[in-house]
C-alpha cells in the first residue's frame, strides 16, 4: 500500500537529482535567512555555491542539540513568526525544551509523510485509526492525526492515558489501526485481558509503533497479544516529527526514509567522517523541504546503519535499521525523552536536596518506571514523616511539571549513592528490551 506511488518509487537517479536540487535550495535559503547557519558556514569556509553534488554535503558543518539550545526558542527559524502556524517542543538537555516550528506548507508536507507512513502499514481512507500517541507539544499525537486526516481515514484522537476507557472505545468503535508506543500497546493488551476483552474479537489489522526503541521479540509479543501486524515508525521533532521513516508491512525489515524530503547520513560519532552504506554509526539528517525550521546535517545521536538493498515493497527509498542505541545518555521513558541532566537541574532548584542522586529505570508489567533516588542529608531531614513525604512529593511534582514525566521519588541514606571520580554513574537502566 503506497500513498504516493510516484515519489515513493522514483528511480534512484531521479530521486538523487531531486535531492540535489532541493539541497542547493535549502542551503542557499538558510545561509540567507538564519544567522546561525551563515556563521557556521562562514567559519567552515563553505559557501552555498560549493554544493555541486550530493557528496559536497560532507563539507558542511554539523548541527547539534546544543545549537538549538543556544538559539532557544526561535533563533533558528528561517521564516518570520507570522508564517509559523505550529510550534512543537521536545526535551532539551537542561530545563529548556527543544523548540521547532512549522509553516502551513510544512504541516502539509508532514501530513503527506505521515499519510505515506500509515499507508505503509496498510491503512486506507476506509480505516478507523485509534491514535493513542500523546497530543500536545509532543509531535507524536498531532503528527499521526494530521496524517490520518490527509489519508482520509477516520481518526480517534484519544491520546494517552485512561486505559480502561480506551479499551471500551476499542470494543465499541471498532478501530482497525492502532498507533501508540510499543510499551503502551502491551499495556493495553494487559488491561484488556483484565477487563475480559480479547483482541481477537477486536477489528485491528495493524499497528504503527514508535517513539521508543523496541526489539523483534517485542514485535512478536505485540503481534501475538494484540492480534495485528506491528510495524515500526521513526522520527524526531527537530527533523519533522514521526514520519521521517517507516517500515513497510510487506518486508518489516528496516524503515524506509522518505528521501525526497530528508537526506540521511551515517557518521563516525568521534571523527564526523561519513561512513559507507551498511556501516553502523550516528544518524544525521538534512531536511530538504521544511520552511520554518530547516536542519542541515542534524546529529540525531541515534546509532544505526543504512540498507540500500532493493525492497520487495517496491519503494526505492533507502532503509535504516532499528536504532540500536544512543551516543549520549538520553533515556526514553514511556515514549518521552528524558535527559538525566534535566532531572539534575530540577533537583538543584530544591534547596533541601543534596547534589547526590541516581536514576533507576525499570519496566514493570509493560510500563517504564523511573525512580529518582535522592540522599537525605541533615538539611533535608526532619523527625516528622509528613515532612519527608512532602519532600518526596515535591520532587516528583517538580519533575512532572518541568519534564512532563511521572517519576517515583525515593529518599535514601547518605553515601549510599556511589561516588565516582569523573563521570558519576547517574543512571541504572534495568530494562531488557
Amino acid at each position: 500500500m503506497m500513498f504516493n506511488v510516484e515519489f515513493e518509487t522514483l528511480p534512484r537517479e531521479a530521486l538523487e537529482a531531486i535531492q540535489l536540487r532541493r539541497l542547493q535550495a535549502v542551503v542557499e535559503r538558510v545561509y540567507a535567512t538564519v544567522p546561525f547557519y551563515r556563521r557556521k558556514f562562514d567559519e567552515a569556509g563553505v559557501a552555498p555555491s560549493d554544493i555541486k553534488q550530493l557528496g559536497d554535503l560532507a563539507r558542511v558543518p554539523f548541527t547539534t542539540k546544543q545549537d538549538l539550545r543556544d538559539n532557544y526558542p526561535f533563533g533558528m527559524f528561517a521564516v518570520p513568526m507570522d508564517n509559523v502556524v505550529r510550534i512543537h517542543a521536545s526535551s532539551g538537555t537542561t530545563g529548556k525544551p527543544t523548540v521547532v516550528g512549522y509553516t502551513s506548507r510544512d504541516i502539509a508536507t508532514w501530513s503527506e509523510l505521515m499519510a505515506r507512513a500509515l499507508a505503509a502499514g496498510g491503512a486506507t481512507r476506509g480505516d478507523i485509526i485509534h491514535n493513542a500517541y500523546g497530543y500536545g507539544l509532543f509531535t507524536g499525537g498531532l503528527g499521526v492525526h494530521y496524517g490520518a486526516e490527509r489519508l482520509g481515514a477516520s481518526v480517534i484522537p484519544i491520546s494517552g492515558g485512561n486505559t480502561k476507557r480506551q479499551i471500551m472505545i476499542m470494543a465499541d468503535f471498532g478501530p482497525t489501526l492502532l498507533t501508540c508506543t510499543p510499551s503502551y500497546a502491551l499495556h493495553l493488551a494487559e488491561v484488556a485481558a483484565e477487563m475480559g476483552v480479547d483482541f481477537k474479537n477486536l477489528k485491528f489489522k495493524a499497528g504503527i509503533f514508535g517513539a521508543e526503541p523496541w526489539s523483534e521479540q517485542m514485535r512478536l509479543e505485540i503481534e501475538q497479544k494484540l492480534n495485528l501486524q506491528a510495524i515500526d515508525i521513526y522520527g524526531l521533532s527537530e527533523v519533522m516529527g514521526p514520519g521521517v521513516s517507516v517500515e513497510c508491512i510487506e518486508a518489516k525489515k528496516g524503515l524506509h526514509i522518505f528521501e525526497d524530503h530528508f537526506i540521511p547520513e551515517i557518521i563516525d560519532p568521534e571523527t564526523g567522517e561519513v561512513l559507507p552504506p551498511g556501516a553502523t554509526g550516528e544518524l544525521v539528517f538534512t531536511s530538504l523541504t521544511k520552511e520554518a525550521f530547516p536542519v542541515i546535517r542534524y546529529r540525531t545521536r541515534d546509532i544505526t546503519s543504512l540498507n540500500p538493498e532493493p525492497c520487495i515493497c517496491g519503494r526505492t527509498h533507502v532503509r535504516m535499521n532499528r536504532v540500536s542505541g544512543r551516543t549520549d545518555d538520553m533515556l526514553i521513558i514511556r515514549g518521552v525523552n528524558v535527559f538525566p541532566s534535566q532531572i539534575e537541574s530540577v533537583l538543584m532548584e530544591i534547596e533541601e536536596v543534596e547534589p547526590h542522586y541516581q536514576l533507576i529505570v525499570d519496566r514493570e508489567g509493560n510500563l517504564d518506571i523511573l525512580t529518582v533516588l535522592v540522599e537525605v542529608g541533615e538539611h533535608a531531614f526532619s523527625d516528622e514523616v509528613r515532612v519527608l513525604q512532602n519532600l518526596e512529593k515535591k520532587i516528583s511534582k517538580n519533575i512532572k511539571e518541568y519534564l512532563g514525566v511521572s517519576v517515583k521519588t525515593k529518599l535514601v541514606e547518605p553515601k549510599t549513592i556511589a561516588r565516582s571520580e569523573g563521570k558519576a554513574k547517574r543512571v541504572i537502566d534495568n530494562r531488557k528490551i
Binding site: V376, G377, E378, F381, S382, D383, E384, L388, L411, V412
Partner: protein, 143 residues
Amino acid sequence: MRVEQISVFLENKAGRLAEVARILSEAGVNIRALSLADTSDFGILRLIVNDNARAKEALKRQGFTVGKTDVVAVEVEDRPGGLFKILDILHRADVNVEYMYAFVQQSGSNAVIIFRFDNLDEAVKVLQANGVTVIEGERLYAM
C-alpha cells in the same frame, strides 16, 4: 522543660535498625525510649538516650543522617483516664500532638509519655497550669 530527642533516617533495608543498635551499644549509649515511624520506603527512628552528644557523634560517623528535636516528657497517672486527662487539657488549649510514645521508666507511680507538640512552649505552659508534671531533660536521661 525540654527533652532532646534524636531522630535517625532509615531506609527500609534489612539490618538498618540492628546497625543503629550496634553502633549505640559500641559507643556505650543506653536507649531509654524509642519509637519507629515507618512508611513503605523509609523509617524515622526516634530515640531518647542517656548521652545525646555521644549518640549523635557515633551515628553520624557511621554515615547516618541524624536530627535533633525538642520534645516534652509528661507524667501521666497510671490508671484508666490518665491519658485522656492530659489529651483533653491539650485539646481545649488547641495544642496539637504530632506524635507520642511511652518512656521505659516510671516516675514514682506515674507513667511517663514523650510528646512532640506543634507548639512546645504553649503545651508546657498549659500542662503546668493544670497541675500536670513535666519532667526536665536532665532528670529524664538519668532516670
